[in-house]
Amino acid sequence: MGGSPGLAADVVVERGAFRLEAAIAVAPGQVLAVLGPNGAGKTTLLRTLAGLGALAEGVITVAGRTWDDARAGVFVPAAERGVGLVFQDYRLFPHLTVLDNVAFAARARGAARRIARRDAAGWLDQLGAGALAGRRPAELSGGQAQRVALARALASDPALLLLDEPLAALDARTRLAVRSELRAHLTGFAGPTVLVTHDPLEAMVLADRIVVLEGGRVVQQGAPAEVARRPATDYVAHLMGLNLYAGELVPGPGQAVALDGGGTLYAAGHGDQGADGDRDAPIGVGGRVLVVVAPSAISLHPREPVAGSPRNTWTGVVAGLELLTDRVRVAVVGTPPALVDVTPAAVAELHLAPGQRVWLTVKATEVVAYAG
C-alpha cells in the first residue's frame, strides 16, 4: 500500500454509534466521486482524509507518504498534509481580500507577501477570476466564491484535492455553468481528487469513478456509466431514476426472475454486454440477481392488453403523478411496483388519476438482469 502514487485509504472512523468503513483508491489525475445520502459518512471521510479527524483503524497514504496509520501511531496534522479542501460553504476568510485569500497558503508557508500575491494573481487569472482580486468575500456571488475557493485550494499546490459538495450552494442556473468549468479545472489537476456529492449528475459529469456510500459502507463502486446502468441499491436506483428489483433466477424462457417482493419479470438473454462483459458470467438458476427497468421503457394501458409483443404484463393502481420537465412520472402500486414515465398528453388521454387501475407492459429487451 505504501508505494501507491495516488491516494490509497483504508478508513475506519467511529462516532458514537456511527461507524464509517470504506476503502478507496484514486490514481493521480483521477477524480473519484463519493456519492451518498445525508448521514452516509461522506463528509466524515473527507475530513479524515484532510487530517481534521483521526482514523480509528486503517491507513491513509498519498503519493507514498503515510498520513495516518492507526496501528503504527502515525498522524500527520492537517497543516502538514498538503490537501486542498474546497468546503461546501467555501469558507473564504472574510477579513482578507480575494487575492490574500488565495495567497494564504503561500504566506502560511513563509513566502514573502509580494511573491505570494503574484502567484495568487496567476491562479485567479487561470480560473478567470482575476478581476475579483481586490474584492472581499462578502462582495462575491456564489459562483465567484466557488471559483475563488477552488483557486485558493489549487494555489496551495496540494498533493490531494478534496471537494465537499462543491456545487450544492449554487442556484440551478449557476450550477450548470460552474459544473462544466469545474470539470475542466479538475482535468488540469495532476494529483488525485476526491469529490463528495449527493447529486448523481455532478458525480457523472465530474468523476472518473464513483463510490456509493450508504450508512458508512461502500455499497457500490465503478465507472459512472456502470453505476448508472446497474445500480446496486434502491438509493442508487432512485438517484438514477430507475426501477430496481432484487430477485432470484427461476427456470423459464430467457431469464425469468422471481422478484423478492412478488411477481416475475422476464429479461432477454444475458443482460447487456457492456464494456465490462466479464461481469456478466452466466448466472445459474437460483442465483441472486438485480433487475432494472427504466421508467420510460414501461407502457401503461387502461384495459388489459390483448396479445402483444411485450413479454411482461401486470396490473396495478396509480398512486401518484409527478410532473417532470417534459414528462409525467406515474407511481404505480402493484406486484412489482413501478415508476412509469408518460407524456402529459397520455395522462390526459388515459385520464390517469390516483386510484385508477392500469396495466403495465414492458418488453423483455428493456429488462436488464445482473448478478446482485
Binding site: G51, P77, A79, D89, F93, F104, A108, R109, R136, S156
Partner: protein
C-alpha cells in the same frame, strides 16, 4: 409575518400602516414608566453637572497644573494598564474559551472575580501580595529593590487588576463564538496553530477586541478604590483624575466640577471616535 389588514387603524395620517399588527413592535405599556425613570435617573446627574458648571471660571480652573498632572497620570496609567491587559489577557481569554483542562470553570470564576469584588478589597489584596511586606512584594524589595505601592507602576497594577477582567470576558465570548470552520480551513492551507491565531482568529475577533480594550481602558480611567488603597494619592505620581476630583470636592467644589467635565469630555471623545472610526457596522479592521 405581520398582516397589513389586522388591527385597528392608528391615528389617522400620522402613522404608517405598515407597522400595524406587528406584535414585536408593540411596547407593553407597563414597561414605559420604569424605563422613563431610568432615563431620568441616568441623565439627571449629568445635567446637574452641566448646570452647576462655572463656565466663566472654567479657563482659570483648567489652567491649574495639578489638574493637568492628574490627567497625564490618568491617561498614561490607563493606557499602560490596557496594553498589559491585551498582552496577557487575550491569551488567557483564548485558553478559557478553547483549551480543555480540569478546573477551567473554576479558573474562569477566579480570574473574573475582580468584576464583582469591591475595588478597595482588591487594593488591600494587592497591598498584602505586592506591598513591601507582602507575600511576593518583600522579595521584590529585598532582591531587586523594587517597590510598587505608592508609585505610578502601582497605579498601573491596581488599574490592571480591576480592569483586565472586562477585556477577558469580552474577548473570551468572541473566541467562543468565532467560526472554527475558518480555523480548520487555515489548517488545511498549511497554517500552524499560532499562525492561524494571529492571521485568522485575532482579525476575526477584532471588533470584540476593540470593544473589550475600550471597556478595559474606561474602567482603568475611572478606577478609584484599588488605586487609592494600593498606590495612594500623591499629586503628579499616583494621583489620577478620579482621586483629584474627590480631593477637590472637599477643598474647592468648583474645581471638582471642572475636573469632572474633563473626564466626561475624554469619555465622550473616545466613544465618538470609536463609533466614527471603527465601530461602524461592517467597517474594515
Amino acid at each position: 409575518m405581520s398582516s397589513r389588514e389586522a388591527g385597528p387603524a392608528g391615528a389617522p395620517g400620522t402613522r404608517s400602516r405598515r407597522r400595524i399588527g406587528d406584535p414585536t413592535r408593540r411596547t407593553p405599556w407597563p414597561l414605559v414608566p420604569p424605563a422613563a425613570v431610568a432615563v431620568v435617573f441616568l441623565l439627571l446627574p449629568l445635567a446637574g453637572l452641566l448646570v452647576r458648571t462655572p463656565w466663566a471660571d472654567l479657563p482659570r480652573l483648567l489652567a491649574d497644573p495639578a489638574a493637568w498632572a492628574a490627567l497625564r497620570v490618568s491617561l498614561t496609567t490607563a493606557t499602560v494598564a490596557t496594553a498589559i491587559s491585551l498582552v496577557v489577557g487575550v491569551p488567557l481569554a483564548w485558553v478559557l474559551a478553547r483549551a480543555r483542562f480540569p478546573g477551567r470553570r473554576l479558573l474562569r470564576a477566579l480570574v473574573t472575580l475582580p468584576l464583582v469584588l469591591p475595588p478597595v478589597v482588591g487594593g488591600v489584596a494587592l497591598l498584602f501580595a505586592l506591598g513591601r511586606r507582602g507575600v511576593v512584594g518583600q522579595y521584590l524589595d529585598q532582591w531587586f529593590g523594587i517597590t510598587l505601592p505608592f508609585t505610578t507602576a502601582g497605579v498601573v497594577l491596581a488599574e490592571t487588576f480591576v480592569a483586565m477582567p472586562f477585556l477577558i470576558v469580552t474577548v473570551e465570548g468572541a473566541f467562543r463564538s468565532s467560526d472554527l470552520g475558518l480555523e480548520e480551513t487555515a489548517a488545511t492551507l498549511g497554517s500552524r496553530p499560532f499562525a492561524t491565531f494571529r492571521r485568522v482568529t485575532l482579525p476575526l475577533v477584532a471588533p470584540s477586541l476593540l470593544a473589550g480594550a475600550v471597556l478595559c481602558w474606561a474602567r482603568a480611567l475611572g478606577e478609584f478604590g484599588a488605586t487609592i488603597t494600593f498606590a495612594g494619592n500623591l499629586p503628579g505620581v499616583t494621583q489620577t483624575m478620579p482621586l483629584a476630583v474627590y480631593q477637590a470636592l472637599e477643598r474647592d467644589p468648583q474645581a471638582a466640577i471642572a475636573l469632572s467635565l474633563v473626564l466626561l469630555a475624554v469619555s465622550i471623545t473616545v466613544l465618538v471616535l470609536l463609533r466614527e472610526r471603527w465601530l461602524r457596522p461592517g467597517a474594515a479592521l
